[in-house]
Symmetry: C2
Subunit: 412 residues, 2 copies
């Protein structure tokens, strides 16, 4: 293949890339709810206890446990009812010896009380409560700090914040947290490109769709993307553009100019930047042109201009790079086991990404392979709802084989 | 249990709720890249072919197939080289009888040509190309429309738009698409609540953290959330607030005021709105207080004020409601099979949501149950990285049982 003397295996390419990256994005303080999807850049420590106070874990009567010693159905103990606490109670009653305060679940335990007798174990008569049961200390009491203790780490550095983390952080009164602010520069190349705003394209031109797709994929990792436009087919220009971008951004992503048959501007431009490592082409199908370099510790990821191949480039280069820089781990992907409806033939020593259509028939799950060759088969991106990854040591799978498939969209 | 005469099974509650909803959100035209995460409200049809023109599928020479009849290594056919096409070529060459044009992969096929002879099957000598092989019509040609044909539906109504859909839609020059604009009103209730901005809370008060968590969960479904504040403990006020919200929003979500031990304001307020259906309490653990109603075809979802129980309320009521209104299906969730480290005991006839901590030991995946009782165990939301759902017909699982667990966060 012209331009690809030898294709680097994906694992080797990733290792060479990741081990040379020596750069951490800056951090920024963000309002807790807005941190969803971002990665914590510091351990977050609980500034208070949860519960913040001893509280009733059941509806009933707050008492002094010692006052209930010897109580039973046949010989109840009478305690004087001196008040009521609800979760929102402002005025705080106190339980003295021989007294009880009615409490609702979640209400602060009145001062002096150390246990809750449920309604089921008691009856109110006149101004008194009959207690039918001796209860131990802290019976039906949620102790202060038993859920989260002050000083405890609740969110570790490197954790991608989820909506339910916000539930915990906000409950602790944490208004802002530190998150990484990873910033990517995106540079498109290719004399054939016109922007979506200028659609329909003139004859022979195509729309720069990869730009929008990659932007959204990177934003999904919590990355801010700055689009720096379509570079003209000019090595000097591209060299300057990448060089400047490296000064202001954590990662530079280019598209186009790396495929067989395309004028070769990007690799020469990056070569001129004296990269510590430069991988030109990778043993992926589709996605062979995807390339990567590290310049002064920062990643320069050169993806195919074709959307299908660029998705593979995103998976094998962009995602691991971002995760490494912010110390995060990959989110789990949904997978299923399905039966192949047709044979899939793939080249040996290449990792193949085969889009499939998953469907149920007679209660059984099947995977129909959509295409295995060419990065131009765009429609597989919308037609496929699953992805079958064929590893390097296989030449495919047979019809009827049960394979593991990553589920990308709901199954019909 | 006070306030819950009978708990409705989840499946029954969902059916009663969903079958009465008779409302569709409005649609809005959105720039294609911004549609990611939203749901298409109309089928999207390809306005052009992809490829938009016949193009070279390999590097080589565009020829007239009939000119190659009889060509072989031993008796090559000579064609006159009359130009070169790259993917971005402006000037369009033409191939006449006995002629060839050099083409790069992706380049428009020159007029007159109908096949591509790869470099490997040819050699240039002087101004001529020696062709070593007879090729059939459309050999190494991507035909116009073979990937996506003009008029074809590329994205169906009800599909949640993914980044790779943007790759396809933008390639087709589709600048905007119609998506649903689902709008939710969120009303918090509970005299004990203070807002996160007012943290730390005074004694006896707690922070309205559920508000932020639910907002982010709903936004994750592509819903716009309008927060209408903390309602005072007043049935009239809550009634008016919900009534007004129903006029302007597609779904009204309340939090608090539905749990055992809480003052009961929300259910009486909704009852006064003459709901077509009213479910008060559901057989879920945690999450029993979660309630739902339909008023004039619109959903009113009354969730617990406790974050852990509210997450369950979101899963069983909010998510299915939103999906039904926009005609979308649930996104696939990642699951694994893991071995329980301890027995899990759950009540019969209740669906239990048990947070677990998934971890590997000696290459085997284990699930450590974190807590099964109480909606107040907030820390399970950050400590757990998995969710075990115990169905209604089981009273739990034994230690050592292999169970299916939904993966919420990366596994250590």
């Amino acid at each position: 293949m012209r331009g690809f003397k030898s294709l680097t295996p994906i694992r080797e390419a990733q290792r060479a890339l990741l081990e040379r990256i020596n750069h951490t994005p800056t951090e920024t303080e963000t309002p807790t709810p807005e941190a969803v999807g971002k990665v914590a850049s510091r351990d977050v420590v609980a500034p208070m206890d949860i519960p913040p106070f001893d509280r009733a874990a059941f509806d009933g009567y707050a008492v002094r446990a010692e006052d209930t010693i010897g109580a039973s159905r046949t010989s109840p103990i009478m305690l004087k009812l001196v008040g009521r606490h609800t979760p929102g109670s402002g005025q705080l009653a106190e339980v003295g010896q021989g007294e009880a305060v009615e409490v609702a679940t979640g209400a602060p335990l009145p001062r002096g009380a150390d246990a809750v007798v449920p309604y089921e174990e008691s009856t109110v008569r006149g101004g008194y409560v009959e207690i039918y049961r001796a209860v131990p200390k802290y019976y039906y009491v949620s102790r202060r700090g038993e859920d989260v203790a002050r000083g405890e780490v609740v969110v570790r550095r490197g954790r991608r914040i989820k909506p339910w983390d916000v539930g915990v952080l906000a409950s602790l009164g944490i208004k802002k947290i530190y998150v990484y602010r990873a910033r990517a520069a995106l540079i498109s190349t290719g004399g054939e490109l016109v922007e979506l705003d200028d659609a329909p394209p003139p004859p022979g031109k195509i729309i720069n769709s990869t730009r929008h797709m990659l932007t959204k994929l990177m934003e999904g990792l919590g990355v801010e993307v700055a689009y720096l436009g379509i570079a003209p087919d000019d090595v000097d220009y591209i060299y300057q553009k990448i060089r400047e971008a490296l000064q202001h951004y954590d990662v530079v992503v280019t598209t186009g100019g790396v495929s067989v048959g395309e004028p070769d501007y990007v690799i020469p431009a990056v070569s001129r930047l004296n990269p510590e490592v430069l991988i030109h082409g990778v043993a992926a199908r589709p996605g062979r042109p995807n390339s990567a370099a590290v310049v002064s510790g920062k990643p320069v990821l050169m993806l195919s201009g074709f959307p299908v191949a660029a998705v593979v480039g995103f998976e094998i280069f962009v995602k691991p790079t971002i995760l490494k820089m912010v110390g995060a781990r990959e989110e789990p992907a949904p997978t299923v086991r399905a039966v192949l409806t047709r044979r899939v033939t793939t080249p040996i020593n290449v990792r193949s990404f085969v889009r499939v259509h998953l469907f149920y028939r007679n209660g059984k799950l099947y995977a129909e392979p959509l295409a295995v060759n060419g990065s131009g088969v765009l429609s597989t991106l919308t037609r496929g709802n699953g992805l079958l990854i064929v590893p390097e040591n296989r030449e495919g799978y047979d019809e009827g084989d049960e394979v593991e498939v990553i589920v990308l969209n709901p199954i019909d």
